[in-house]
Amino acid sequence: MKYELGDDGVVVIIGSGAGGGTLAHELTRRGIRVVLLEAGARQSLASFSQVPNEAFAQLTWLDPRTSSGDWAPAQTHSPLPAWLTKTVGGTTTHWGAVTPRLTATELKARTHYGALPGTSLTDWPIAHEELLRYVELAEQRLCVTRRAGNPGLPASNNFKVMYNGARKAGYQKVHSGYLAINSRAQDGRGFCIQQGFCVQGCKMGAKWSTLYTDIPRAEATGKLDLRIQSMATRIEHDAAGRVTGVVYRDAGGAEQRQKARAVCVAGNAPETTRLLLLSQSGKFPRGLANSSDQLGRNYCHHVLGFTIGIFDQPVYMWRGTSQAGLVEDEAIHAPKRGFAGGYFVELVNFDVGSLPLAALPYGWGRDYASIMDNYRNMAGFMIVGEDMPRPGNRITLSAVKDAHGLPVANLHVDEHPNDLAMRAHGQKQSRRIMEAAGAKRVVQSEGSPFATHNLGTARMSTDPGAGVTNPHGQTHDIRNLFISDGSVFSTSGAANPTLTIVALALRQAEYIEREMAAKHI
């Protein structure tokens, strides 16, 4: 379907990942006409490269971003402070498909954790029971293992190490994970054949991605106009403060202007924030929908840390689903551990080329090489934990510009003492698990050289002074402007965010339909 650039009856969605792709399907199947702008190209199960370097170049957002603060990406001068994608399907093409749930406690973080100095903790403006209703819908839709009647994935070598170590260390809730990966063929997608190429794009389609579910289904409604290699550069508004359309660069680099009845931004927090800041105007001098001055603030990326265990016998960790293993016991709020919030210990594996870039601490020489020499005998875990929102942890426009001459996003993070205490605990426990399984040596990184989860920069709040959007992701300042990605999370929780992003998109689609029917937008 092709719509006219001047057609002001369409809803424009920017970004085709977990939020934007899901929303595009949900709106079009309700008969709503949608233009979906995606900055990247379109791959397929056939075109996904299985050479790790090539796959990285094929899917990754390689335009510059900068970072600052005391977190690992800034300290290591990482050229890639956030490892995100530029491709149809967004990060659902390269994600590990780990889908635990947020807890009722996490949704009331401010109430349960208290007023921790130096944080901007808040409670979510959505009741847990209500969110859970949509989370369960999302789990059915994504065919999550161990949920919705789906079996778990069989235990890989890497998970056998995690399981035996974690059980010996006293943990009770240890299993092969909640994953949006088919443990049996369904949903028109194949089943997992344990390739270990989740990050490169799953050629079986066993791993859920909007690329081969929601987007083709939206196309099949006849209501979707997907424009690839089309990067939004500005959202425009009228004198009354309603958004009127989106300016973008098309595949040939020419500037285009699509009129719109409503605009939904789902570019992942760095690009969503950047676009709204780039759209500043006389009426919105601090950026679009930013009268609260909260846009870009409270940036959360999860407390991360990698643990590699070296054994005297082979593990062959690269064989098998990348993240099919989970320890849930620490994903609770238990202040006696010395920090608020909780974390998961998640299984993770790496191809030999990515291992030193992603998971090993800084080093070189004999000792460093001896780690790599043991590649066959390694197991890998990572912690993913709730990080503290802080007003100063913030995405802003950088002095560096992209190929279009537009300032890129700068990601600033100063870690909170709670984050440091959580990481120290998580790394200590991860080491215990490895050693209980028999590791001869344990190697751990301090943090991650890149963020993969980007949350909180357009937080939901019922108070227009305290958040960018209302509980439906509708901006307080502009009724026909919505945020449809992880930017709206009020706090991060510990869970990997995609499941919640999909749940919120399902909920938002119902709301947008009602708002349109009522002629509010």
Binding site: K203, Q313, R319
Partner: protein, 184 residues
């Protein structure tokens, strides 16, 4: 890097240096490579600079049984960067000078000391990242470290050892899952 026939195209390429070597007979790499003899033509560095870079990369990431041909692939990547960007070329040239004249042939402790002395410099940081990101990403490195790579064309690892670890107890079914297609 090409095997054999180094000289034939020299008149056409602006070759500034050449590194050569020979894969150890019978090594897994020799089975993968089209020929045991290899030569790397440099287009930004001279032969001495190439040799110093190769020695530096070997010192940064010393895998004694990993053939020089694999290390030479890192030198090739550095050379390509330097040929593209005069600033990078200058960075490397000055950095190599700072390692001292006899670096390429010095004993390992001396090479380590020379690198340690410049560890905080942009040259060192760039070389380290380049070495780490290219040394472990070639098919020759895959063979050396045992990485089996792409699996889709072979049916994944589902029936090729994803669960063949026997030195720990099996995971109970409740915390694992059925093999797909096994009547589930």
């Amino acid at each position: 890097m090409r095997s054999n026939g180094v000289a034939d195209r020299r008149d056409f390429l602006k070759v500034t240096g050449v590194l050569t070597g020979c894969l150890v007979a019978g090594s897994p790499l020799a089975l993968l490579a089209p020929s045991r003899a290899w030569a790397l033509e440099l287009t930004a560095f001279n032969t001495d600079q190439g040799a110093a870079l190769l020695a530096a990369v070997r010192t940064l990431l010393p895998h004694d049984r990993l053939d020089d041909a694999v290390y030479a692939s890192v030198v090739r990547a550095c050379d390509a960067d330097a040929a593209r960007d005069a600033g990078v070329r200058e960075l490397y040239s000055r950095g190599l000078v700072s390692l001292g004249a006899g670096f390429a042939t010095a004993k390992e402790p001396e090479r380590v000391a020379a690198l340690k002395a410049i560890e905080s410099t942009p040259f060192f940081q760039q070389l380290r990242v380049k070495a780490i990101s290219s040394l472990y990403s070639s098919p020759l490195a895959y063979a050396y470290f045992g990485y089996e790579g792409e699996a889709f064309s072979k049916g994944g690892y589902l029936h090729r050892g994803f669960d063949d670890l026997k030195w720990l107890p099996e995971v109970p079914p409740a915390d694992s899952g059925p093999m797909p297609g096994a009547g589930s």
